[in-house]
C-alpha cells in the first residue's frame, strides 16, 4: 500500500549539501520542496535541487538563514505546511521551533520544550544527571566570566570551554593554563554569538584523549524512542569532526546496548519526539560520559542510514506528521550491518594551516561506483561563498567490513576532483591510508599525534605530472575554466525544453520577485 504524502510542500531552512539531501528525501515521499537562499546562493546546488525557490536577501547568515521573520514569511508566501531546519543555522533554536508551530506549521524536528530541556549543553547535563546518565564534572550554568574561571580552577585544568548552545566545535577550546581562560571564554563567546546568536559558555573537565562516540536516536509523538546505534567520530580537528564511521571499531554488543539505553532513557525523560544524537566521550576502559544532545539531523547521519537501512529524513517527516515508530519500523532488523565511513570535503588548505579557502570551484568531479554515496552541495563553476561554513560535500562509502570500507574510501577519494581552490581531499586520503587509522587506533587527539597527515613531506611534481599539466591545457583550453555561475544574471537562454524550463522555474520566480 502506498501511503499518501504527509505534506504537500515543505520549506528547507538551510543551504548546501544538507538542503540538497533533504530535497531528495522529500521528493521520494512525493512532497514538493521549497529552497530559500541568500543573494550569493541564488544558484547554489540546493536551489537547483528544489521544486521552488524563495530569495531571503542579504548574504551573512544573520540576514538570511538565521532570520526567523524572513523564513516564516517565505513559508507563508510559498504555502508550505512544514519546515525542515537541516543542521546548524536555526535547527536547534527552540524559539524558532515555537514560532514555526505558532505560525500553524509543522517543525520537522523535536518539540521546542524537549529542545529547551536538551538543546543547551548545560540544560542537557542536568537532565542527564536526573536520568542517571554519567556526565563529565563541570558547570551547569554561565554566571559570568569570573564564575567560569573560578569553576575551571575548582575542577582542575585542563578544561574544555564550550558554547552552551554549541555544536560543531564552534566556540570550543581546550585550555591548559589559567592565564588563557579569559581569552578562551571571550573568543568562545564571540564565535558562539556569531554561530548561534547565544553567547553563553560552560566549563568542563577535559576527558582527553578519549573516543567521541555518539548514539543516533529517533522518537515519535507517542513517547517511543529507538536507538539507531553508535557512530564513531573520534577523528577531529579543533573539535570539528573530520571522518565518521559506523559501527565503532571498539563498541561491542554490550557497550552498544548500554549507551543506547542511556540515550533513549534521557530522550524519553524529556519527551523527545524526532531525530537527535546523544554524544559521549568513551575512555579506554569503556566508561562513557554524556556530552550533549544534538537536537537535529547530524552532518554524519548517512553512515547510520547505510548500516541500519533507515532513511532518517523520511522518518523525521513521518514522525512529525504523527506516524508511529512502531508502524514505521515494524519488522525491521535495525542491527548494524556492514561498515560505513564518511569524510567531509571542505574548502580549506590543510597544507597551509587549514585556512578556509572560498572561491571559484572550476572543476568538480565526484566519485561514483558500488558502495559510494556522495552528498554534495557544489558543482563545476560554483563560487564558494565566504559567508558560510567550508563543507562542500560528503563522500560516504559502505562495505561489508571496515578494512574494505577503508580501501573503498581511499579509492573514492583518488577519483574525486575539486579543483580551483584548495580542498582537504588529499589530506583525507592520507588519513584513510594511515596504518594506525586502518587499525582503528583513533582518539580525539589522533590528528595532533600525526602531523604528517596534515603536512606531508613535499613531493615535487615528476615529469609525468608536468606533462599532464601542459597536455590538459593543450587539449582542453577551456575545461576547468568554467565562469562563476553565481555572479552575473545570465541564465542559459537557449535551453527551452519543457522539462528544463520546469527545473528552472524556481529561478524565474526568484527573478520576478527581486
Amino acid at each position: 500500500m502506498v501511503k499518501p504524502p504527509p505534506f504537500r510542500r515543505v520549506l528547507i531552512a538551510n543551504r548546501g549539501e544538507i538542503a540538497v539531501r533533504i530535497c531528495r528525501g522529500l521528493r521520494e515521499l512525493g512532497i514538493e520542496s521549497i529552497a530559500v537562499h541568500s543573494e550569493v546562493d541564488r544558484k547554489c546546488a540546493h536551489v537547483m535541487a528544489a521544486d521552488h525557490a524563495f530569495p531571503l536577501g542579504g548574504n551573512s547568515a544573520a540576514e538570511s538563514y538565521l532570520d526567523v521573520g524572513k523564513i516564516l514569511s517565505a513559508a507563508k508566501a510559498m504555502d508550505a505546511q512544514a519546515i525542515h531546519p537541516g543542521y546548524g543555522f536555526l535547527s536547534e533554536n527552540a524559539n524558532f521551533a515555537r514560532a514555526v508551530r505558532e505560525a500553524g506549521l509543522v517543525f520537522l524536528g523535536p518539540n521546542p520544550e524537549a529542545m529547551e530541556r536538551l538543546g543547551g549543553k548545560s540544560a542537557a547535563r542536568e537532565e542527564a544527571m536526573k536520568a542517571g546518565v554519567p556526565v563529565i564534572p563541570g558547570t551547569e550554568t554561565d554566571d559570568g566570566d569570573a564564575s567560569l574561571i573560578a569553576a575551571a580552577k575548582r575542577i582542575g585544568l585542563p578544561v574544555m570551554v564550550k558554547a552552551s548552545a554549541g555544536g560543531g566545535g564552534r566556540g570550543m577550546r581546550l585550555v591548559y593554563e589559567e592565564k588563557d581562560l579569559a581569552e578562551a571564554i571571550a573568543a568562545g563567546r564571540r564565535e558562539a554569538k556569531a554561530s548561534f546568536g547565544d553567547d553563553r559558555m560552560i566549563v568542563e573537565k577535559a576527558v582527553f584523549p578519549a573516543r567521541h562516540i555518539e548514539i543516533q536516536m529517533i522518537g515519535d509523538k507517542y513517547g517511543d524512542v529507538v536507538s539507531l546505534h553508535e557512530r564513531e567520530c573520534s577523528v577531529q580537528r579543533r573539535h570539528q569532526k573530520v571522518l565518521e564511521e559506523a559501527p565503532s571499531p571498539v563498541v561491542g554488543d554490550s557497550l552498544r546496548q548500554r549507551m543506547g539505553d542511556a540515550a533513549v532513557k534521557l530522550a524519553k525523560a524529556v519527551g523527545y519526539d524526532n531525530a537527535g544524537t546523544a554524544e559521549f566521550l568513551v575512555d579506554d576502559q569503556g566508561n562513557f560520559y554524556f556530552l550533549e544532545v544534538n537536537a537535529r539531523l547530524q552532518v554524519e547521519h548517512p553512515v547510520t542510514e547505510l548500516v541500519t537501512g533507515v532513511d532518517l529524513v523520511h522518518l523525521q517527516v513521518r514522525v512529525a506528521a504523527g506516524e508511529r515508530l512502531a508502524d514505521l519500523l515494524k519488522d525491521r532488523d535495525l542491527r548494524p550491518r556492514g561498515h560505513a565511513m564518511e569524510v567531509r570535503v571542505c574548502a580549506e588548505n590543510p597544507e597551509g594551516g587549514f585556512l578556509p579557502a572560498a572561491g571559484l570551484l572550476r572543476l568538480v568531479r565526484e566519485p561514483e561506483g558500488p558502495g559510494i554515496r556522495v552528498d554534495s552541495g557544489v558543482y563545476s563553476g560554483w563560487d564558494v561563498p565566504v559567508f558560510y561554513d567550508s563543507l562542500l560535500a560528503k563522500v560516504i562509502v559502505y562495505a561489508p567490513d571496515r578494512a574494505t570500507a577503508c580501501t573503498r574510501l581511499s579509492q573514492a577519494l583518488r577519483d574525486a576532483a575539486y579543483l580551483g581552490i584548495p580542498t582537504n581531499v588529499d589530506f583525507l586520503r592520507r588519513l584513510v591510508d594511515d596504518p594506525d587509522f586502518r587499525r582503528g587506533d583513533i582518539r580525539t587527539d589522533f590528528l595532533n599525534r600525526k602531523p604528517g597527515i596534515a603536512k606531508p613531506t613535499e613531493i615535487p611534481p615528476d615529469d609525468f605530472v608536468l606533462a599532464a599539466a601542459v597536455l590538459t591545457q593543450a587539449l582542453l583550453p577551456h575545461a576547468g575554466n568554467a565562469a562563476p555561475s553565481n555572479t552575473g544574471d545570465a541564465i542559459p537562454a537557449a535551453r527551452t525544453s519543457a522539462s528544463v524550463w520546469r527545473e528552472l522555474s524556481g529561478l524565474r520566480l526568484l527573478g520576478g520577485q527581486q
Binding site: 578556509p356 613531493i459 606533462a467 601542459v470 576547468g480
Partner: protein, 174 residues
C-alpha cells in the same frame, strides 16, 4: 599544435613543451627529457594520457584547472598546484615578520585592536579576521610601532591584502 609552459619544481623553473606529432600522439619535452604520450580529451573535463614506449607506467586520467594564477593538476589521486616563476616574483614574496600584517584568506574583519602610533610586541594580536565561520588572529610578527591601519571592522578583505603595517623597533642603546 604545441603549447609551452614554465613551472617551478623544487624552486627551479622547468620548461615544458607539448607538441602534437600527429593524431593523438604527443611529444612532451620536460626540461631536457623527452616523453611520448597518446592523449585525448574526455567529455567529463578530463584528459586521458597513455605513456608510449618501453615505459611501464600506467595510463591515467588527468584533471586540470586554473586556481588564481596557479594551475592545479590532479593526476594519480594527488593534486599539484603548479606555479609559474613570474607570478611568484610578482607576488613580492614578502618574508614573514617584515612588518606587514596580511589577510591570510579572503574574509571579514571582526576586530582591530591597534591604532597608528601603538607600540606592539611580535606576538600581539592586531586584527581578527573571520571567514567561513572561523576566526583567525593576526599577530604583529615583529615588535615595533604601528605605522598604518587599513582594516576596518566589518570590512571585507582579499587574501594577501596588507591590513596593518608595523615599523620595526629602532635599536636602542640606553
Amino acid at each position: 599544435m604545441s603549447l609551452r609552459k614554465t613551472y617551478l619544481r623544487d624552486g627551479e623553473p622547468v620548461t615544458v613543451v607539448a607538441e602534437r606529432v600527429g593524431g593523438d600522439h604527443w611529444r612532451v619535452r620536460v626540461g631536457d627529457a623527452v616523453h611520448e604520450f597518446r592523449a585525448g580529451a574526455l567529455g567529463n573535463g578530463g584528459v586521458r594520457i597513455v605513456p608510449v614506449g618501453e615505459r611501464a607506467e600506467p595510463a591515467c586520467t588527468a584533471f586540470g584547472a586554473q586556481s588564481g594564477k596557479d594551475y592545479m593538476i590532479r593526476v594519480g589521486g594527488r593534486t599539484f598546484t603548479l606555479q609559474e616563476p613570474q607570478t611568484v616574483r610578482a607576488r613580492g614574496g614578502a618574508a614573514v615578520g617584515d612588518g606587514a600584517v596580511r589577510a591570510p584568506m579572503t574574509g571579514t574583519v571582526l576586530a582591530v585592536s591597534c591604532k597608528v602610533g601603538d607600540a606592539v610586541t611580535a606576538d600581539q594580536t592586531l586584527v581578527v579576521v573571520t571567514a567561513m565561520k572561523m576566526e583567525h588572529k593576526l599577530m604583529a610578527g615583529i615588535a615595533g610601532v604601528v605605522k598604518r591601519v587599513s582594516a576596518t571592522v566589518g570590512g571585507t578583505v582579499e587574501q594577501g591584502a596588507v591590513l596593518v603595517e608595523v615599523e620595526p623597533q629602532k635599536e636602542t642603546h640606553s
